[in-house]
Amino acid sequence: MKKLLEISLGVVTSIGGFLEMGEMSTAAQAGAAFHYQLLWTVVLGTVCITFLTEMSGRFAAVSGHTIVDGIRDRFGIKVLALPFVSTAIVSLLVLSAEIGGVSVALEFATGIGYQWWALPVALASWLFLWRGTFGMLEKGVSLFGLVTLCFVVAIIRLKPEWTQVAAAAVPSRPHGQAATYWFMAASILGASLSPTLFLFYSSGAIEDGWDRSYLGPNRVIAALGMLFGGVISAAVLLISAHVLNGRGILDVQDFHQLPLLLVDAFGMWGFVLFVASLGIASLGAALEVALLEAYLFAQTFGWNWGQDCPPRANPGFSLVYTCALFVGAVPIAAGADPLKLTIFSMALTAVNLPLMVAPFIVLMNDEHYMGEHCNGPVSNVAVIGITGLAFLLGIVTLPLQYFGGT
């Protein structure tokens, strides 16, 4: 029972890697443009990330390795090199997007332009990682992250057509604007399925000292944690369908439109709740992605790592998250549009996904590491199918979106 309290690892992973600037922006855009219709991408994304998270926890608990560690161990540096480089770069973009998310929330709260907030946000995040422990990160982010449940309350207050909602959970083809539709599908899948999330979770499981006795709790933690993120993302999409699409706002071009989402349900408090949710979820994500960059480098090259040791025990590890946070702040401080940067980095995440997932799936089926706890056919098929779909959608629609002029 006590082990189930580690649900905070599931929730922090869910908030940081799943429910954040990326998911909120892509879900809001999808709801505005296509009403309920893209809900199925949130459902598929949630199913797939639940499998991936459960697998990464199981891998850590059984083999004693994190995923990056396992890939290097099993396949060698030559196979790890490409996913390592691409994930490091894509995660840096995602980190920028998250710093953008916190900065945008602070702009809403204070009226001071978001670009001025990028460096203070990076500095505050850095200070948290510099002084804080892994437990503080887990418990702090999961506790404050509960504020995002306000999206669920809001959608219940707005009284959606539940039969239509259920119908939208099944994939369907668009009636027009096919290129935009599929691009948004790719972005939502990318926002849900970031490698950051399951790489972080497996490192967290090692930080928390998991062994085989955690196999049962891991299932519950992964399922509940991801369900938390999935339900809230679905709520954001449905709210956007009511509030933005319902008002004839079909294209969210500007992040200033986003706080409108909660105003119908809560009035002026809706604005406050939205700002708090966006700020806290994006901050959690920024901390998580920065830490992930450090895990990625340390595990690839075998440096000492661990968020519970003081920085002087792990100089290389600390150097990586420090650099990542400040480099990540640069595009936002230079005035890059946080919303555009977010959507772009989410679609890129979808394309990058198979590079890490492919070797991971092989590991999950390797008896040398997993013994009797290898993957079953259901998790193999679900993960390969959904990441394959995300990759295809991303690789086809990214060029169309940015170079095809559609």
Binding site: D69, I77, G302, W303, G316
Partner: protein, 120 residues
Amino acid sequence: MDLVQDVLDKQIVDKNGVRMGRVDGLVAEMREGQLPRLVFIETGTVVMARRFGARAQRLMTALLVRLGAARKTTPYRIAWKDVREIGVDIELDVDSDDTPVHDWQRWLRERAIDRIPGAR
């Protein structure tokens, strides 16, 4: 034992449990009429680069020299007899503080990390 599967690329851990790099290369001794015998495991950036080809090795060496870390171009060799156990990681009978493996991290600690408040 399959050396490539069970030794190469594994995490190396010193006798105090401090992670000290990965097995980037193996050094075997050829013996007349007998099977080759593993004598050292190696860890170091240049050995790792070598696995991508001779050009990658030259590039990495040049880069390290340019960065003023010429000493890092020679890998650190660990005698096979100092390997205590092979499990999830490779455990050594060595204290990492007695080796040059962490030189750059020590440098970083002394020059930067310790000068920032709250590093302890």
